[in-house]
Amino acid sequence: MLLVLSEEHKEHLAFLPKVDTTVVGEFGRIALEFLRKGTSPKIYEGAARKLCVSVEIIQHGVEGLMFLMLESSKHMLTEVDFLDSVLVLGFDEELNQILLQLYLKHHSQIRSILSHLPSNLPAYHNLEWRLDVQLASRSFRQQVIPMLTMRLILTRGCVSHSDYSSRVLQTDPSTLLYLISTLEAALAAIKTSHARRILRNIK
C-alpha cells in the first residue's frame, strides 16, 4: 500500500531538502521526541533562530515529518512502499534513505504510542493479594473467617504518562476458586479451533 500525500503536506515537507542532512536528522529526532512527549514551541523558536527562517516553516517541517511517520507507521508500510510513497516528494536518494532509516528505526515505537490512544478503557496492570483471617469484631468476639484481600491496579491511557487507579476488593475462598475456574475457561477459549481459525485468517 502507498501513502497519498496531500499538496499541503508536500509543501510543508519541501523545506527539508533546503537544509543540511544533519539538520534533517535533528528534525527527525525532534519529531519523535514530540510524538512521545508533546510539542514545545520553544524548540521551534530555537531552531528557527539558528537556521534564520520563520518559526512557521520549522513547525511545518517538523510536524510534516511527524505526520509522515505517523501515517506510515499506522499502515505498517513496507520498506519498498515507504520509498515509493516519498518518491512523489522529489527528494534525492540520500534524503529518502534518511527518512527510511528514521521510519524503520521508530515505527514499532510509534505504533505502540498510537495503540494507546484509543484505549480509554482501564486495563489490567497488577494484582496484589493478602490472606486475612478475621478473628474478632466489635459485634462478635471469636471468629475465624478467611478472606482474601486484593488490590487490583488498573491503568488508563498511554503507558508513558499513565495514571494508575487501584481498587481494594475482598473475596472468600470458595468465590476465589470460582473466579479461577471462570477465568481459566476464558484462557481456554483463545485456544479453541474457532478462535484459532479467526486469528489465523484475519491478517
Partner: protein, 193 residues
C-alpha cells in the same frame, strides 16, 4: 456475662413460672431468636397466640431483655455452662434453661453469621464475566490484530453492587489467574495448619 439491670429484670420476669407457662416461654424464646434474624425487625414477631394473654408492655420489656441476652451470649461465644449459670442466677429453672439452650443452639450459627457480617469491609467480589475480542484496527492504527479480554468483576459493598470493568491481554490474564492461584494455594495451606 455482664447484664444491665433492666435486662436482668426482664429475664427474671421471664423466669417467673406464674406469669409465663411453658408454651409461652418457649414461643417467646423462639420469637426472640427469629426477630434478630428477620431483616428489618418483623413487627409481627410477637403476634402469637401463646403470647396473647401477656401484658404487652411487659412482653416488650422481656423481649428486649431476651434478645440482648442472646446477642451477648453469641458475641462472647458463651458455652452452655456459662449460659446455664447466668440463667440460674436469674432464677431460671433447670427445665427452662434446657429449653433455652436447645433453641439457642438451633439459631446460634445464623446469629453468628449475622454478627460477623456487621462492620465495614472492602467491596466483595461476587462474580466475574469475560469476553474474548479480537482487536483488528482503530482510528489511529491499522493491522493491530491482537486478541484481548474484557473482564467484568461484579462487586458488592454495603448492599450496592458495582461492576469493575477492565481489559487485558492474554498474558495479563495469565498473570492474573496465576496470582489468584497462588492465593488459593496459600488459603489451602493455611487451612491445613
Amino acid at each position: 456475662m455482664e447484664l444491665s439491670e433492666s435486662v436482668q429484670r426482664g429475664l427474671q420476669a421471664l423466669a417467673d413460672a406464674s406469669a409465663f407457662d411453658q408454651s409461652s416461654f418457649q414461643a417467646l424464646i423462639d420469637a426472640s431468636h427469629r426477630s434478630l434474624l428477620s431483616s428489618h425487625g418483623d413487627p409481627a414477631v410477637l403476634d402469637q397466640p401463646e403470647l396473647k394473654q401477656i401484658d404487652q408492655i411487659l412482653l416488650k420489656q422481656i423481649h428486649t431483655a431476651a434478645t440482648t441476652f442472646i446477642l451477648e451470649a453469641v458475641k462472647q461465644n458463651a458455652d452452655k455452662s456459662t449460659i446455664s449459670s447466668s440463667l440460674e442466677e436469674l432464677t431460671f429453672s433447670a427445665e427452662r434453661i434446657e429449653i433455652f439452650c436447645s433453641i439457642y443452639q438451633k439459631y446460634k450459627k445464623e446469629v453468628e453469621h449475622l454478627l460477623a457480617s456487621i462492620g465495614r469491609r472492602p467491596a466483595q467480589i461476587n462474580d466475574v464475566s469475560w469476553r474474548l475480542q479480537y482487536h483488528m484496527k482503530n482510528g489511529q492504527v491499522d493491522k493491530v490484530n491482537e486478541p484481548f479480554y474484557s473482564i467484568s468483576l461484579n462487586s458488592e459493598k454495603e448492599g450496592c453492587s458495582e461492576d469493575i470493568n477492565f481489559t487485558c491481554t492474554m498474558e495479563q490474564l495469565q498473570d492474573l489467574v496465576g496470582k489468584l492461584k497462588d492465593a488459593a494455594k496459600s488459603v489451602e495451606k493455611a487451612s491445613q495448619m
